[in-house]
Amino acid sequence: MTDCPNGMIRDQLPEYVHGVVSADSAAQVGAHLAQCAECRAEVAVLGSVRAAISQFTPLVDVTRIVSLLPAPPTATPGVLMPRLTARRAPRRFAATGVWQYAAAAALVLAVGSSVLWRSAVEPVAERVADSSRATALPIGATLVVPANTPESVQSANGMTFGGGLSDLSLNDLESLLGQLDSVRTLPSSYPESMTPVITVKEGGKSL
């Protein structure tokens, strides 16, 4: 067998056989095939190979495959968050306060607000909140960083992001919850005045 010298036509033969060429190209190839024995032979080979491979390709059980697929993701972040929280449930937390804090974080994020977290640095009373947009933790969770907490830990505890909830990727949300693990808590005997403040801020985010 020899090859047709018309490379442009030969290049289109597989698409032509599959019927995925434009109408103009199909007409052009068809006209060429009427005159070219080499290209007709090549089309015959293409057809034979397709038939040979299809012949020993088993029919796939689509229903069974679909039954094994994961469920589609839930559409709203509010439903997604419990999955993230539940995944972290097995982790051991030092004190109840952190659980409350995590639940509060989930609640705030779920309503679609921008949230600014600050690490609580001694003394907490010195933190100035933007009262016009501050939102207290609804369940009075306590977040305190002891005075002797190293700077690196304090800065690691700082969690700041702004922007809309839609800016947060799944990785961001997981990172946020992961950072909750590093929040150190004090026993419940700690003064109740040390109440963290959640402020709402617009702007860029950093985690």
């Binding site: 067998m1 034979s48 190979v49 796939v60 094994l68 589609p72």
Partner: protein
């Protein structure tokens, strides 16, 4: 037809993905129906027979578990083929470890193809399959993707991790080799 048809296919796939991500499980069925048999042909063209179902199934499970990472810079089918190819390579490595033998990929594929010869009475089909089995692994991959799926060279290049130009060369070399083999009757 041609490019507009392919673009239409890509649009349909993206819409189905979006529907599934929005919670529509029926979209998953449609995605599987659209691509499962093509994946099976790809696996079969590599000489896989008994494990085709399992490989196709694993491909879709992996794909749906990581659909969020699908970037749509290639077609969904190309992405699925890439996942399947990795699974086939993993399977081959595992089989090699199990058998503890050094195995040439080409020989492995030829053995599987020859095992089917006794099943099919059509001598012409047997000859065609022998011709395909004699190709180098890369030639066979490029050639069968082009022939069985009509896939453009750009998409083929993504799957086989090569270039468009190299794939074009592999295809034409494969076609020449097959024509020569078939004409040597």
């Amino acid at each position: 037809m041609g490019a507009p048809q392919r673009e239409g296919d890509a649009t349909v796939d993206l819409e189905l993905i979006a529907r599934w991500q929005g919670g529509d499980q029926r979209a998953a069925s449609e995605i599987v129906e659209r691509h499962a048999q093509a994946l099976a042909r790809f696996a079969a063209s590599h000489g896989v027979r008994d494990a085709v179902d399992e490989l196709v199934q694993d491909t879709f499970v992996r794909a749906f578990n990581s659909l969020g990472s699908f970037r749509a810079d290639s077609s969904l089918r190309t992405w699925l083929f890439t996942i399947l190819k990795r699974l086939m390579l993993d399977r081959q490595r595992a089989e090699r470890r199990q058998r503890n033998t050094v195995e040439l990929e080409e020989d492995h594929a030829v053995q599987e193809f020859n095992a089917l010869d006794g099943i099919v009475a059509d001598e012409a089909m047997v000859r065609v399959r022998q011709a395909v089995a004699r190709l180098s692994p890369l030639q066979r991959e490029v050639f069968t993707l082009r022939v069985t799926e009509g896939m453009p060279y750009l998409e083929i290049a993504r799957i086989v991790e090569s270039t468009e130009g190299a794939c074009r060369v592999h295809y034409h070399n494969a076609m020449r080799a097959i024509k020569e083999f078939l004409s040597d009757d």
